[in-house]
């Protein structure tokens, strides 16, 4: 895995452009001097510095960061591991991470899982091979031993999961899911189903919190598992749930995320069920879509942009000081009540 023998892609592009050596040659000075001047380091006379910068500009010199990092024995770029680019929560995180990085001379190298339902450890390998200095992962999977092996190679910022000894930026799913269920219970619902996706290690907090909340109110838990976490993946499970025989259909559904909630919404529309008349619905994430007129989805706000910013800040901090104290920021989610929830019809 680490050394793929079938590699060696034929496709390559020839390298081009002026180098520091070219500039040094043109000016008749040493490469060292050019390097120093370009980086604004001490040890170059003002006049010389000006000449060098002017020449660099004229020649359209662009520094080869990869070579610089190799020579400098350092790594400055940030790797971001995303589960699904099309899910608004991840694109929001991408956006806020990028904003924090902008203007800080940090490159962003991306690894996106192609099958979000089954996160691939290889995705992070890409980042390691790209020699990033820190990895922000929105889906830290595997055992704590796996994670320890990873962090031995590169500092990790874990999002949405708390990992002991690792910088963690999370949202309290336990609280979020409880608020969702309690809100439905307060409205009078007892038959509350939970639509979620495949279970993978470290990502069961919402489900477990749902189960605990249900048992606390003495109601049976009803977990339905879709093939994934996207709207498309959730559609057939959603349909199955809503097509249950009369009396077995829940009066409310709490979905693991807004995408799955939207799947429920579409399925409900197909079956002629009205929301919240026939079915109350709670999502999770508070995506911008959830707040749209006509969607009006009750959901749990996790402040995705804040999470992204915090993760980027943690990454920059870790890059600057590998020995800094471990960060464990846990954000409190809050319920945003909109029009998709109401009292059950027959109660």
């Amino acid at each position: 895995m680490s050394a793929d023998p079938s590699e060696d892609a034929p496709g390559t592009s020839p390298v081009s452009g002026a180098t520091q050596s070219d500039l040094a040659r043109e000016l008749g000075v040493s490469r060292t001097l050019v390097s120093l001047a370009l980086r604004g380091r001490a040890g170059v006379s003002p006049a010389m510095r000006r000449r060098i910068l002017e020449t660099a500009d004229r020649r359209g010199y662009r520094r080869n960061t990869m070579a610089a990092e190799l020579a400098g024995r350092r790594r400055t770029s940030v790797g971001l591991h995303l589960l699904d680019a099309r899910n608004e929560i991840y694109s929001t995180i991408l956006h806020s991470v990028q904003e924090e990085l902008a203007g800080r001379e940090r490159r962003l190298v991306l690894a996106v899982d192609s099958a979000p339902e089954h996160p691939d450890p290889r995705a992070v390998d890409t980042l390691l091979e790209a020699n990033v200095g820190v990895v922000i992962s929105t889906a830290v999977i595997g055992s704590e031993a796996d994670i320890a092996a990873l962090t031995a190679r590169v500092p990790l910022i874990a999002m949405f999961r708390r990992v002991p000894g690792v910088d963690s930026i999370s949202s309290d799913d336990d609280v979020g899911a409880r608020r969702a269920v309690e809100h439905l219970a307060d409205l009078g619902h007892r038959r509350i189903a939970h639509l979620t996706g495949p279970l993978f290690s470290g990502h069961s907090d919402r489900r477990e919190s749902y189960q605990r909340s249900m048992s606390a109110m003495g109601a049976p838990a009803d977990v339905v598992e879709a093939d994934g976490y996207s709207r498309d993946a959730g559609l057939s499970a959603a349909r199955g749930l809503l097509e249950r025989p009369p009396g077995h259909r829940p009066s409310a559904v709490f979905a693991h995320n807004d995408e799955l909630a939207l799947a429920i919404r579409e399925a409900a529309a197909d079956l002629g069920l009205s929301i919240p008349g026939d079915l109350s619905l709670v999502g999770y994430d508070n995506s911008r879509t959830a707040g749209l007129t006509g969607i009006d989805l009750t959901t749990v706000d996790v402040a995705a942009a804040d999470l992204g910013r915090a993760a980027a800040a943690a990454a920059l901090r870790r890059l600057e000081d590998p020995a800094a104290a471990v960060v464990d920021r846990r954000f409190a989610p809050h319920l945003v009540v909109r029009g998709s929830t109401g009292a059950p019809r027959e109660s």
Copy 2:
């Protein structure tokens, strides 16, 4: 610009992990042999190859792609320049590009503009410094001379804009905008406004096509320019448009993209205007949001996923053969009629 003297970020992470030299030393062979074996090249006995791969695995060897590219005088990674990660069209493109690249040993380096309304040439600089072998840009800006200067450094795949001599993956905006206007005209609308964003070079096709279509039907063009292309940026312009005194408000709006159409929708809801009763609305992009029950937006489908796939394919092709014939793929958009358009009230 090219040589920023204020650079030299303090934050760095020390490099770590086994190298080919480490493996060679452990096995008592040359570095060359290790390199050959790791890449599956000829010239290594099967037994030796096996030993080397086994050792690499055991030591958790991870190849340093940056060093490999530097030494091999080639570039294999793909740079993607996105205008706005939160706009669904770009996240869809990101997703499809990444899918095409997955499993092909291609890294994706991302540059996202922080202010999409004013694309920053520096964003692409980041990609150049990351030594990417090809740049896919969703917003090629500047004059053709600027573009020529860029393509002298790195092959470019231009999206959404046709650039002579440059691989271009575009959608025919002229046709798309005409279809939108004609659809509204067919419904009986004459007062059709166009909500767009700031003008920048190479991106005025929809606007111009709208203007031509309006003048073809003998109606006055009514272009309203928002501060940007995002929903938030469009909100105040949308409000201004809909708050016009009676008789001056358009009966239909054709928006530059779905984001701006959603801004119109929100503004209309705030003002108590119904869609399509009081106002017909056409977007552009056919984002997944547009098709949602409750949104039901008539829009122009540009097949964003296809565009992304085509761009990725063009990038891979260009990487493999710098001398390949220039690609100019132009997709035909089509109108998707949904519930946001209808006959004008008083007609």
